[in-house]
Structures are given as C-alpha cells and as structure tokens.
Point group: C2
Chain length 425, copies 2
C-alpha cells in the first residue's frame, strides 16, 4: 500500500471540511429527517417552466457558443446584465471590473489564491460563513474573529485586533463581511456602520471582501431595499471586492455568480480562474442571462421575498411557542437563517446525535466561530422545508433540547461543577 500522506502538500494536509456540506450529505442519507441544516433554496420556487422554455430555445443549435468553451470572465452579455443589476444597488462598475464565477464559493477561493500568503491575517465576524472560512483557511490564512453586535462587527474590537496583529508583525490583508442577512446569524449591518467600516478599512489599509448573496431577499415586514445598500456602493477608491450570486434567487444548480473588483485584480482572478476551471458552464450562463434579460429574475424576487418571509414567520412562531422559555434568536429581516442561542453549556454539536434520533437536524454553531466558541448556538434554515415540516421539526427540536437539558442536569449532579461548560463537551 502506498502511504499517500507522504505526497500531500501542507495545504493538502490542512484542508478543512465544510460543516454544512457534511450535514448536507448526512441529510441526503436520511430521507425522513426534517432538515434545517443546509441553506438550500426551495425548488418549488424555481421557475421551471421558464427555464424549460429558455433551455429549449438555447439548445436549438443556432448558436454553437452555448455549448462551447467560453471566455474565462464569462459570457459578455451576462456581464452587462450584472453591471445593470449592480447599478440598481447603487454600484457603478466598469465591465473590466466584473467577472462570472462558478458560484460565489469560487470567488472566495480566487480571493484566497490571489491575495493570501500562508499566515496572512483575514479578519472575519464571529460568527462567519463556513464556506468563506474554509476558502481562506485552505489558502493557509490565519483567521481572526471579531465580535459581532446586532448592527454588525464591533468597530472598537476590530481596531484593537487589527493593531495587535500588526504589532505582532503579521500582514492583515482582508476583512470579510456578509452585510445582508448574514449566514449564519441573519443579521444586517447598519448603514452607519457600513460607512464606518469602509473608513476603517481605508485607515487600516485593509481590503474588504463583501459577500452579498442575500441582498434581494429582504422581508418587507422588517426591512427595506435601502437597508441593504452594499458597502461597495460608497467605495470610491476600490477598497472593496464585491461578490454576489444567482444561487439564492434563480437556482444554485446553475453555478452562476459574479464578482466585482478593481480591474487589475480582476485580471489576476481571471488568470487564476483559467487554471481552476477554464470557464463557467455555458448553458448555465446563457439560461441565467435569458432569465435576467426577459425580466424573470425581477418578477421572481418579490415572490421569493414573500415566500421566505412566510417561512421565517412560521419558524419564528413555532420556536417562540416551543422553545421561547429556553432559547433566543435575532429576528431575521431577510435571508434563509434563524440563529438560535440555547442556554450556555448546551453543546449543539454533541446534541446532534439525539437530534438525528428524533429525525431533525441543524448546523451546530461552533464551525462558524474561528475562535472555537459558539457551542451553545445553532443555525436553523427555514428556506427549504414546507411550513408543516417546519412546525413538526421545531416540535422535535424542542423535545431534543429539553431531553438534552434534563440529561445535563442529571449528569451534572454526578459530575465536577463547571465541567459542563468546557468547550469540548
């Protein structure tokens, strides 16, 4: 037998699995389980009829380029569509500042590859999106978390953490933010804080990576379009690398997202993408383009807002009813996620075995925290399951939490005081 570990690169040895992907695989293996784990959009919202019609037209064979290798930067007309959509978000982008990516995950990967040397510091929110954590860790970044308040990252702590690492001789290159309906917390960064974050990045000479997949999915009972104004919209000097995606609005199976960055960086990302996958799927890009051009995306988005708002309400109401005495969470004003804090000492990772027995799953909080905290938190996605399944799943989850607390109380009676709060539990 060959020992393949001898052949691994240091990056290969250290590769980080995505906690969410693991839960997705697990859910696929358990068909009866009610899954609040993956942040999947609901397929019944997909515009199947229109996609069928569009695909039928594209596949008539009149334009061979639909199924040919295409430009690494993406289908030029699709870039123009993204340029227009950005304008509606207050962002003025030149075409040479834009690039299609195979999902925003690829954008994050390219950022890591082009900008991060091993040991460079990337500042992230506590908690932050696990896909970004994985992309930056796999580029061998040192990830440093900064406390998050209800209106976004804590500026004083951000400044202090930055100073510490600069003093320690480290290069702090990036600040990664999900300003709109963050994964996992569902929080919005306040408008004032967005401006202050941009000013801070200018002073600290750090680039901001603004990851904005949920921008369009605000809930009209709690937020306005104006609340989602991207940091990039006020970026006059090219301080922000902006990522957005069609995965949450059209469909994630089309791996179509885009990034905006200063032209010289886009040139680098383009070159890196060439050797990563040459180009994004031609058919996916064309369907996405037609869906935008024909107004389908614009018609979809208000429907999606109402659809996910209703599911949010169902889940939040069920949680209040079933777990209101034990848990708390920020009320989601958009997006896919509800971020639940259980009593300190509950370990949501350990509790998963019990949850799986009761046929309900979620994503445990700790993988979202680069400082190893967050063990009493969990992310619940309300995007995929039906209202009925959400109600039933929350009932199951409440049973699981109560059983866990009872088991804890029983075991604490026979146990060291304080042992229950060690992070490993």
């Amino acid at each position: 037998m060959i020992d393949y570990d001898r052949f691994l690169s240091r990056a290969g040895e250290a590769l980080l699995q995505s906690a969410i992907r693991q839960m997705g695989v697990m859910a696929a293996q358990l068909p009866d389980v009610i899954s609040f784990a993956p942040g999947y959009p609901a397929p019944e919202t997909f515009a199947w009829d229109e996609y069928r019609e569009i695909a039928g037209e594209l596949l008539r064979g009149r334009d061979g380029r639909v199924l040919q290798y295409g430009p690494t930067r993406g289908y030029p007309q699709l870039l123009e569509v993204f340029q227009q959509r950005l304008r509606a978000r207050g962002i003025v982008a030149a075409i040479d500042e834009l690039m299609v990516t195979t999902g925003s995950q690829q954008g994050l990967h390219l950022v890591g590859r082009v900008l991060i040397d091993p040991g460079d510091v990337v500042l992230v929110e506590l908690p932050s999106y696990t896909g970004a954590i994985a992309a930056f860790k796999n580029a061998q970044a040192t990830l440093v978390g900064v406390k998050q308040e209800v209106d976004g990252i804590d500026l004083a702590e951000l400044d202090e953490v930055h100073r510490q690492h600069v003093r320690a001789g480290r290069r702090v290159k990036l600040l990664y933010l999900v300003p709109n309906f963050q994964n996992p917390t569902g929080l919005l960064i306040g408008l004032d804080k967005r401006r202050r974050l941009l000013e801070w990045a200018q002073r600290a000479d750090v680039l901001i990576v603004e990851d904005d997949p949920y921008c369009d999915l605000y809930f009209e009972d709690a937020a306005h379009a104006a609340d989602t104004r991207p940091i990039k919209a006020d970026d006059d000097e090219g301080r922000v690398i902006y990522l957005s995606s069609l995965s949450k609005t059209l469909a994630p199976g089309f791996r179509v997202a885009w990034m905006q960055a200063p032209a010289s960086l886009i040139t680098k990302f383009d070159t890196a993408k060439q050797s990563t996958d040459l180009c994004t799927s031609g058919l996916d890009q064309r369907i996405a383009y037609e869906a935008c051009r024909r107004g389908l995306l614009d018609r979809q988005v208000p429907i999606l807002r109402r659809y996910y708002q209703r599911k949010r309400t169902v889940m939040a109401s069920a949680l209040s009813r079933e777990l209101g005495d034990l848990a708390n969470w920020p009320h989601p004003r958009g997006g896919f996620f509800l971020w639940v804090a259980l009593p300190t000492g509950v370990d949501t990772q350990g509790m998963l075995a019990r949850a799986m027995e009761r046929q309900v799953i979620y994503v445990a909080g700790r993988p979202f925290f680069v400082d190893g905290s967050g063990s009493h938190l969990m992310r619940l996605s309300f995007s995929l399951p039906s209202a009925e399944r959400i109600e039933e799943g929350v009932r199951r989850l409440a049973d699981v939490v109560r059983a866990e607390l009872e088991a804890r109380t029983a075991s604490e009676g026979n146990d060291d005081v304080g042992h229950g709060s060690t992070p490993g539990r």
Copy 2:
C-alpha cells in the same frame, strides 16, 4: 489609487496565463480570422436535438435536485456511469475512487492544490499541455521537462532527470502524461512504454497523473481502441491519478469531467473542491448522465471519430501540398491537433503578427515547453473549422511561413550570424 500589487500573494504575483486562452480571446475579437488556435470541438457535432429533449424533461420540475446544490463528489448516478465507462477502458474503479470535476482543468487544479508544495518537482513531457503547466505552476511547482520520442517520453532521460533532482534535494512528486493523442503533439504513448512508465513510477516512488480527454477519439485508419489502453488499467497499487472528460465528446460548455484516484486522495480532492466551487453544475451533470444512460454518447463517439479523422486528412493533405517542402509533423492517429515543425530559427510567436494580418492564427509552440524551447513549432487544431476553411487557412499559413522565411533571409544578410536562433527572437 491603491497599489494592489502590495496585496498579492506570491502565488498571485506569479500567476501564469494560458497561451491558448489568450489566443481564444484574440480569435473571438477577429470574426473573419481562420483559427487553428483553440482545441475546440465542432458545435455541429453536438447532439442538440437530444440535449433539448433531455433538458426539457429534466426541467419539468419533478426532481428539484436538478437545480439544487448537489454532492461535491458529483451526482451519484453519473459516478456509476463513469465507473462503467472506465471498465470498458480496462479500469476497475470503486465508487469512492471517483469524483466529478468542473472540467478536467479543475482536476488538474485540485491535484496541484492537494499534492504540490512550492518547489516540488512535477515532471512533464516536452512539449506538454499548457493548461496542466498553468495549474501546476500556479501551485508553485517546479516544472521539469523530459524529451518526448515518437512513442512517448524518453525513459532514460526521465530516469536521469529524476536522479538529478533527487540528488539536488528536491521532492519529485508527480509525472504528468497525456498518453492518448497528446495536446499538442497528437502522439500516442506506445503500449510497451506505458507499462515501463508505470514500473518506473513504482521504482522512483512518483505518482503519475494521467490526463486522458481524447481516449475515445482515435482515427480508425491509424489506430485501434487497444492502442489507447490507459496506464491506469495496469495500475495495481494506486500509483496513477486518472482524469477524463466529456468536453471533447458531448460538449465543453457542460463543464463535466471526472477523476479517479485512491479513495484517500479522492477524500482530499473532495474537500478541496468544497471550498473551490461547492459542486459542479447540476443541470450539466444531469444532461451528461442522461446522454450516457440513453446511449447517446456511445452513438456519438464513432461519428466523432470519422468526423475528426476526415478533418485531420484535409489538414494533413493541405499541409503536404502547401508546406510539405518546409514543414514536418507527426501524422495524428486521433485527437484534435497537428503539431508542425518549421525550419529551425523561425519563431512562430513572432510570426503571429504576420499571420493575424493574413487572418489565420495558431498557437505558437514555446508555451508548451517548460524549458523555453520549441520556438519553431506550432499547434494547429483541425477540430473546429470546416474543411473549406482548413484548406483556405493552410494556404494563408503557407503564405505567412514563406514570407517569414524570406524576411528572415533578407534580415540575416544584414545581421549577426546565429542571432536568428536565440530563443528570445
């Protein structure tokens, strides 16, 4: 203005552009040009009607997973199809040794990421595929070329080069080979040499990366299926990482390829792919699966063999007629490429300006050589242009070559003797 160079990683600074991609962009900008540059399959061979029908069925919305996030390793039924196709090539693969990639370019990227540390040596043929060169260089490998004979890489030189680098304290990890109808030379590695390469890799404790996109595209007037037997078919100990693709047979716009490797390495590639693009396009994978399941791919392949064989014959005949006195090339027994040697001293890179004036382009030879040689060579793809365009393009090319030789003769009269053969020219 922000100086973004200050933010680049060392990998980001050193990123290598693909010469072929650059030519593709150039060709797209010049619609009247006859392009022998990119190795694009011919869209008129694509099974448009069947794809339209398949897409129509898949997009009825009865299976939401078609447009949902999918497993990083790929659609499970598609992996089974690849398992069967490998069996027909003499390769026995377990399912956990297989993974879908977003084109074989992604497979090469993942190999670089998981296995290559900066400075590790990757041995490649002289010449070798530029996409692989870029993927490994961008992983900061040291690429070392080994002379290629008509039946494949020179074993004695391979052994000597390997010894040199081991003696110099370098880690030689990979040997990258395209055994079937290599890009750019069109050459096949002989069956005996394939076995000896595998034995060599065992003795030298090097992994082989076998890149096999053209396997099915042998020309029946010059080769048999048996001539294309993969090295992987005789690999009992897991020494070979095998890559293949549907880009040259179904269509490259579907970014669907696959890799086979020992299960423990596939686990690593899977984890790396998670943070690279999460998963390959769902619609593309499903269309590919249906095309295989319904026998479409098996029906297509013999048609493609005849189609590309005819174009090969047209180009080879035109070249013999127009340039037979000045150029030579190995007769392609499969694949997309004709590899033309011009008289030593002609710089095909420099000649491109003249070629573009005459509205014909190709890929200059030097980027395929990691040792900087190959300046009198050029790669001509016969896959995309029509027979008429091939004839006309070769006529234009012959004019270009003759004009270049005349200009050289004229300038050599006024120039340093020998200056004409310096590599920089």
